[in-house]
Symmetry: C2
Subunit: 213 residues, 2 copies
């Protein structure tokens, strides 16, 4: 049997090198985010009290990330949005990810940005049970992106930071361009979009999408 095992291993290697395993591209799961907030520990304590720790209610698909029991009120010059979910754990900088529709409700103009790219983003008022914060920056509309491992990226023939196009089938189908590849070894394979992007293409958390590049 050794001969056949060697042959099988060689064939698999050849197939991988030839890129034929890209047929696998049809199987990227979809993760849909509503508006949410990531807090720094300092801001968390201002809003909820000294020494406060977030209460996990649900693990998210990305390792170590979770939804919390705690919510905040977002207050802008034109309106407020209540019960905006906090995601844990605490981060280096506070970041508020909203929907484009929320910009109209709140009266602010947020740019489409990659997570963590906060330079020049607008601020907002966060209202918690023990205090409020007037952020000077940190509000963005998340740029659609695909989390993956470096191995995934190699198999898909893409690199971290690359922009790709993805294909969605169905009556409300189409393509989304400028989808950012975020590849590192702490990510689970998942295409991240917000609820408006999901609804516009009738995507659900059970949907799968394809990279067309």
């Amino acid at each position: 049997m050794g001969k056949y095992d060697d042959l099988a291993a060689l064939l698999l290697e050849a197939i991988k090198e030839g890129g034929y395993l890209k047929a696998d591209l049809s199987s990227i799961p979809v993760g849909i985010s509503n508006r949410h907030i990531h807090l720094s520990q300092v801001d968390l304590e201002t809003l909820f009290g000294a020494g406060y720790q977030l209460t996990k209610t649900k693990d998210l698909s990305q390792p170590m990330q979770y939804a919390c029991k705690e919510t905040l009120i977002l207050a802008g010059p034109k309106g407020t949005i209540e019960k905006v979910r906090i995601l844990g754990p605490a981060r280096k900088e506070t970041q508020v990810e909203i929907l484009l529709a929320d910009c109209f409700k709140l009266g602010i103009t947020a740019p489409v940005r990659s997570s963590g790219d906060l330079q020049g983003t607008p601020g907002i008022t966060l209202i918690g049970p023990k205090g409020s914060i007037l952020l000077s920056k940190g509000v963005l509309i998340a740029q659609r992106h695909i989390h993956m491992t470096l191995d995934n990226a190699h198999n898909f023939g893409v690199t971290d930071g690359e922009l790709v196009t993805i294909q969605i089938d169905g009556l409300r189908g189409g393509t989304y361009s400028n989808v950012l590849i975020r590849a590192n070894n702490t990510s689970a394979l998942e295409f991240h979009i917000d609820t408006e992007e999901a609804n516009a293409m009738q995507l659900a958390s059970t949907s799968k999408i394809t990279i067309t590049k």
Copy 2:
């Protein structure tokens, strides 16, 4: 001058036949709809009182269509949505066009349908100032479509009822497939989508789109 006019006419004809005027394809304006209601006269009178007439507040881009002062409450098994705008004039059948996000709020599953195609659609409760109606059908999510004249259709090389793909540029760009052509001589050229479809692609009422087919 007669000779030159004849020459110009011939050139124009040649250009039209050659399809060169399809360069015009880049100039389709975008019309964005929020959830709204079209009422039959019978249902209007049940909700607002006998003999009631709608109050126009704004002409819409499609001839004879207008937004009204009047709004209704939509009530589903899981929740309600207030201040849902009525569009006039009264139609043959009552039709409620909602966003996919509204399905979750209301607790109903509406299909993506072309306007007027109400067979098998779910119902909903409409609550007005003088009465309520439990509709047995009429709730849909509008299939994206392009209104145009028959001349427009000829110039674009498309026909009434055809499904086309449209291209949207920009950081949140992409394509929408299965866009229905609705061509007749009472329509103004306009690509109709709902607010979720507009926000997902960062389209505004000042945007222009292109048919790629």
